[in-house]
């Protein structure tokens, strides 16, 4: 069974052929049209997907050495709706033309299960931390299709907090890798930043952290940007993993899988691996 998978929910046009033996091909085209806007612009995203998708799909089939898969899957949401529709329509059209089944896949479920592409793969049940520009959610994955949301952000996604902090520091977009790189040279204890908590709840809030960075930056413009980056990153990683610790204690589940764009963050990966009593499953960077 070889499945062609298509993903266009944000700013990457991606196609891949997967079989029981693993990933046969993996083609990703990252849109660069957004950099000038400091974010993903939906209309630009869908236009760029429409332009690139056919060649990306052809490339994925060629690299896998097949002409026709046994099924076609595509991200069916949530995401930027215009962008999602480009991939979904292409996948449905191909499935119809080839006379093979079409499978719609929830974007977050795709993230959550992506660590299962790795060897070793996490066994059910596991805790899945999905962190990206649009989402920050901790799931308890009990079995295929059975997931419980344990915690989520009440305001900004962690990746959005990275983007906005990068905006405050005048670094550019996307903020994640830029801040991560800058933070390597900074002192994570140099700048006191809050570890925001949501009253009466175990959810996350990242809006206040972004505000604190902006206010600090205005009050002390002489702070070194690398120290702000490092201190901000330390705060994000700490609150994310603190919630994981509580969830592991509450559920007794000690396997943790990291997924989503922020799972590429070097400090999050290192700090997760350093957690005592938790077995961490990381995605290799090419699969994020």
């Amino acid at each position: 069974m070889r499945v062609l998978g298509i993903e266009t929910s944000c700013d990457e046009t991606a196609a891949s052929v997967v079989s029981a033996d693993g990933v046969l091909s993996d083609v990703v085209y990252t849109q660069t049209v957004h950099a000038a806007y400091l974010g993903v612009v939906p209309e630009l995203a869908s236009r760029a997907h429409a332009e690139k998708l056919a060649s990306v799909v052809q490339d994925a089939l060629d690299k896998a050495g097949i002409e026709k898969p046994d099924a076609v899957a595509a991200t069916s949401g949530p995401g930027l709706i215009g962008a999602v529709l480009v991939g979904l329509s292409m996948a449905k059209g191909l499935a119809l033309g080839w006379g093979v089944p079409f499978i719609g896949v929830n974007h977050l479920e795709g993230h959550l299960l992506s660590p299962m592409l790795e060897d070793p793969a996490p066994e059910f049940p596991f805790l899945g931390l999905v962190v990206s520009g649009g989402h920050t959610t901790l799931y308890l994955a009990k079995s295929l299709g059975d997931y419980e949301e344990i915690a989520s952000t009440v305001d900004d996604a962690a990746g959005e907090a990275y983007d906005k902090t990068a905006r405050v520091l005048g670094l550019g977009y996307p903020g994640g890798p830029l801040i991560d790189r800058l933070a390597q040279r900074g002192d994570p204890l140099a700048i006191p930043l809050p570890r925001p908590k949501v009253k009466g709840s175990q959810d996350w809030s990242f809006s206040g952290l972004k505000t604190a960075v902006r206010q600090r930056h205005q009050k002390f413009p002489g702070d070194k940007p690398e120290d702000i980056a490092a201190s901000f990153q330390r705060a994000v990683v700490e609150v994310l993993l603190q919630r994981v610790r509580v969830a592991a204690k509450e559920t007794g589940v000690t396997r943790l899988a990291l997924a989503g764009g922020v799972a590429a963050n070097s400090e999050l990966r290192a700090a997760a691996q350093a957690m005592k009593g938790i077995q961490v499953f990381l995605l290799s960077l090419i699969h994020i």
């Binding site: 900004d156 972004k210 206010q215």
Partner: protein
């Protein structure tokens, strides 16, 4: 009208009071820098409209729609490119029948109806200051009611 807000709950309460007096076609132009409290205020408006579920930052998705006593739209136009993308967004269709909160509306001033409510949030000591400016008779009536509460 100017009012001082001690903290996030006070900011949310102002949003709630606005929502309780809102009418179809109310447009709030939210102003203030990054982290000034715009999403917090929007959460209060959502609460006051009886929106179920969370009101989160719309920055990533540009516009979020919620079901409440009146439909609520919350948009952040910071990352929008040009007018054609604004049309694509479908925000204009929402303006007349729901409650609409717009961040960075100054990028598209022609979008706002004449009678809208401008709401500026700024840091002030440990809290923040909200400045409400009514731009027409309906929004003025709302601000007058709010003023009576303070």
């Amino acid at each position: 009208m100017k009012t001082y807000l001690d903290d996030a709950p006070a900011t949310r309460a102002l949003g709630q009071q606005i929502a309780e007096r809102s009418y179809p076609g109310l447009v709030l132009a939210l102003q203030g820098e990054l982290g000034a409290g715009k999403t917090t205020l929007a959460q209060g408006v959502g609460l006051g409209l009886g929106v179920k579920g969370r009101v989160r930052s719309p920055t990533f998705i540009i516009m979020a729609l919620y079901e409440g006593r009146l439909p609520m739209a919350h948009a952040d136009l910071y990352r929008l490119g040009d007018e054609s993308e604004l049309t694509e967004l479908g925000l204009e269709e929402h303006l007349s029948h729901g409650v609409t909160l717009i961040e960075w509306s100054e990028r598209f001033p022609q979008l706002l109806p004449k009678d809208h409510l401008e709401l500026l949030l700024e840091d002030d000591g440990d809290g923040r200051r909200a400045t409400l400016t009514a731009m027409g008779p309906k929004s003025l009536a709302l601000v007058t009611e709010l003023q009576a509460l303070r």
